[in-house]
Amino acid sequence: MNLNWLIVLPVVSALAILPFSQLKQVRSIAAIGATLQLLLSCVLLYVFMQDPASGMSGSLAFESSYAWYKPLHIYHSVGVDGISIAMIMLTAIVVLAGVLISWNMEKMSREFFFLLMLLSAGAYGYFISTDVFTMFFFLELAVVPKFLLIGIWGSGKKEYSATKLVLMLMGASALVFIGLSGLYFNNASGNLSFNMSELAANPLSVEQQKFFFPFAFIGFGVFTALFPFHTWVPDGHSSAPTAASMFLAGISMKLGGYGILRVATTIMPEAAHYYSPYIIVLSAIAILYGSFATMMQTDLKYINAYSSVSHTGFVLFGIGMLTKTAIAGAVIQMVSHGLMTALFFAVIGMVYERTHTRMVDKMGGLLKSIPFISTVFMIAGLTSLGLPGFSGFVAEMMVFIGSWENGGTLHRVATIAATASIVVTAVYILRAIGKVIMGPVEHEAYFEFKDARWNEKSAAIILVAAILVIGITPFLINHLITPGTEAIMNKLVANP
């Protein structure tokens, strides 16, 4: 199977949107495109699982390579392993849900869906790249659509948020770029190369790793809301339109974690060991800070945004622990958080559309007027809280177990501190659910509300289904990602 279809499909659907200007035409094209993407991802998953030779052996599958900038040794090479496929599935699901949620986007609909498709192209391209240059290309490709999506369709202080987001993310890519060029020039083979497997086979000297690892790590880390650089997350998420929030929190934040796994830890394993304590400390701070900050919030979007900081903290936390279970947990947390937060933002969007407010204090008793939406809201909240049966539980559990495997004192202390955040999470989630869903109905007008339309329902159902699949049958996803994580672990173990 040619992986490039994953890039071609969204690009084609984006271009197909351009000639039309009516919302009806545009959204159906987008929906068809997103559905095809999901189907293609499913096919990919199926083929991958079925192919015993390449599929589950830990090496990359469906590899192909085209010379792009030959004099500079830049190739457009693609390949996937389990981790990538999980990310691709996540992207496909969130994109489809996002398109469905934005079904009634009246304002500049053509541009909106065009950018959405472009964004997904960037994400797919990023996840399938095995050449760090193309990876970087797609990483940056995904930034500008975000800027425009937030700046044009957003709400609140959207210009400020958009500017902040684009500057921080581009700054992050600049750091990534330095790390990448360090790899390009200094790898042990002596050839200039951007190819991941070549780079992994010819690692840098330890000194150079120590120099370049922070660039790559911090660069990717900013995408995943690494502690001092997380400030774009709350502003960006809360100002963005619903679909863009879903995308930002659901996919975009995963780009960083994925990049750290692929580039920082796999190619520079010694440095990963060396910097592990710093990563742990920073991510533990992010987890705690995120959850405490969430408690202060009364705006639903801010609640979800800050909780995202906390949740993605687990991703970095798991990676920083450098144990197999923790890394697997981090991957599952990426998927789980992607789905959960997308669902949460979707449902916040639905609520807002009806109540015209996002303030927790000003709502109440929604369950009585819009039961479907309220139920979904509750599911999202409980996933976020980490209730068994939902995906959040699996992910966090694995991260904690994996963390405990790492016997360092600092690691233990950090693990305990991070675990404590669950309690805080429970507090703010339950409070929000209690105030918004339960309790007395705030306004008479609430009874006028119509429950979710078909598009909202289907978006929610897709996401909830995915959450449940992971939550109830975690071994499936574990099975999918194990070869990938093992490959990373082998690297880490071989180069202490």
Partner: protein, 468 residues
């Protein structure tokens, strides 16, 4: 010999043909419409461009003063293409201008000067080409005769260009004293890096610094760019700068190759200063032309960084970047020019809500700005990435970090314009602008260039193959 002459100098001869044709038309009392003149010139420019690609040949004529290689031919073609785009874009402005023919006379003369400059194998030839390309430019800057600003800019332009020529010549004269020849090959063979040679080189470098407006030699740039008519501004910022850069790289790489270590540090300092100052000043500009002027200064900083790499990849990236820069900057200037000629508005604030009324132009400008900022999938990303990569080959990571941070600063001010167009509210945005055919074609070429040049690597590989 004669055959050589016609073959090697065919681009130059075409331009001379245009110049004389226009002169004769002017002298012969021809009452042509400006549009006719423009179409004629454009047609000949296209022919020149086509001819440039036709036959491959290299050689030297005029007692080894004029040489042509495929690379030089390509550089000339790049400049011709840029000039063609500018010529198409100036339609709006020239359509009713009294002196359209003279404008083309001067324009083509400067282009001819650049061609000679590129083909020079001798500092004398280089100097002649340089002056042929700058002196008419000063007159072009003053082309809006009734505007005070225009004259002021022209005066600044001519004084600073004369001063920089003087610096350059002073260096050349010392070089001549040391080496005894002004031909590139003789100098390259004789230069060893003695203190006196370094003194001469610094003077030459300062001269070049003025021409490419590197900080601290940039003071004239913004004023001149603002005062000049927009087509001239775009010509100044793209074509003339590009030509000088092409020569600069030849001079550095083939004439002063043996002093590479010395000038690496000079370029390092120049590059950092240029990027920083250009960016910091660009941030606070309200006028689009000044803004683009300072941004072009910052771009030069990146270019210097790329040049400091001293490798085949450096030259390739430079030429590649200039090609892309032509597309990007001309697209931006094209839109600014349309707006300016329609409403005489040049402030960034005037662009608020521009998207609501002129979506296509807004997108064009946005893509151009993103390309200038170096954001994928535009070609600017590739251009900038390769330049920095070329510079990074030297392993000076501090420099690379500064460059990377500067990219962020530059992104800040580029997105400011995009923000104004797409996001800011404006009760009375600029009305819909009617875009005539030729600017439209120019913009389409630019946008196509921006989108294709980067994603399709053919151009880069072609240049690389010619350079190495």
């Amino acid at each position: 010999m004669v055959q050589d002459f016609f073959l090697l100098m065919r681009s130059e001869l075409m331009l001379i043909l245009i110049i004389f044709g226009l002169l004769f038309l002017k002298l012969g009392n021809a009452r042509l419409k400006n549009e006719t003149v423009m179409n004629m010139v454009n047609a000949v420019l296209i022919a020149t461009l086509a001819m440039g690609f036709l036959v491959k040949d290299t050689g030297m004529i005029f007692g080894n003063m004029f040489h042509t290689t495929d690379l030089i031919r390509l550089e000339k073609n790049i400049l011709t293409l840029g000039t063609l785009i500018i010529s198409l874009q100036s339609y709006q402005w020239l359509k009713a201008h009294k002196h359209a023919m003279e404008f083309y006379l001067l324009l083509i003369s400067t282009l001819l000067g650049m061609f000679f400059m590129l083909s020079s194998a001798n500092l004398l030839m280089f100097y002649l080409g340089l002056e042929l390309s700058t002196i008419p430019l000063a007159a072009m800057v003053n082309f809006d005769l009734h505007k005070k600003q225009s004259s002021e800019a022209a005066f600044k332009m001519i004084v600073s260009s004369a001063f920089s020529s003087a610096l350059l010549l002073f260096g050349i004269s010392w070089m001549y004293g040391i080496v005894g020849s002004v031909s590139y090959s003789a100098i390259a063979a004789a230069v060893t890096g003695s203190p006196l040679e370094i003194f001469a080189f610094v003077m030459i470098l300062a001269g070049f610094g003025f021409k490419i407006s590197a900080v601290p030699f940039h003071l004239w740039t913004a004023d001149v760019y603002e005062g000049a008519p927009i087509p001239v501004t775009s010509y100044l910022s793209v074509i003339s700068k590009g030509a000088i850069l092409f020569v600069f790289i030849t001079v550095l790489y083939s004439v002063f190759r043996s002093m590479g270590d010395t000038w690496y540090y000079m370029l390092y300092i120049l590059s950092v200063a240029t990027m920083l100052i250009g960016n910091l000043f660009a941030m606070r500009q309200q006028n689009m032309k000044r803004f683009l002027a300072f941004s072009s200064i910052a771009q030069v900083g990146f270019i210097l960084l790329g040049i400091s790499g001293q490798s085949v990849a450096s030259s390739t990236s430079l030429i590649f970047f200039v090609l892309i820069y032509i597309f990007s900057n001309l697209a931006a200037f094209g839109v600014v020019s349309l707006v300016s000629s329609a409403y005489d508005k040049e402030k960034v604030d005037d662009y608020k809500g521009f998207y609501q009324t002129n979506p296509l132009l807004a997108w064009t400008l946005a893509i151009a700005l993103f390309s200038l900022a170096g954001i994928p999938p535009t070609a600017g990303f590739f251009g900038k990435f390769f330049l920095i990569l070329a510079g990074a080959a030297k392993g000076n990571w501090l420099l690379i970090t500064i460059a990377a941070l500067n990219m962020i600063i530059s992104l800040y001010y580029y997105q400011r314009v995009v923000k104004a167009m797409f996001m800011d509210h404006n009760a009375a945005p600029l009305e819909k602008i009617n875009t005539p055919l030729s600017p439209k074609i120019a913009l389409i070429i630019c946008i196509a260039g921006i989108l294709i040049t980067g994603l399709y690597s053919g151009a880069y590989e072609y240049i690389y193959q010619l350079v190495s």
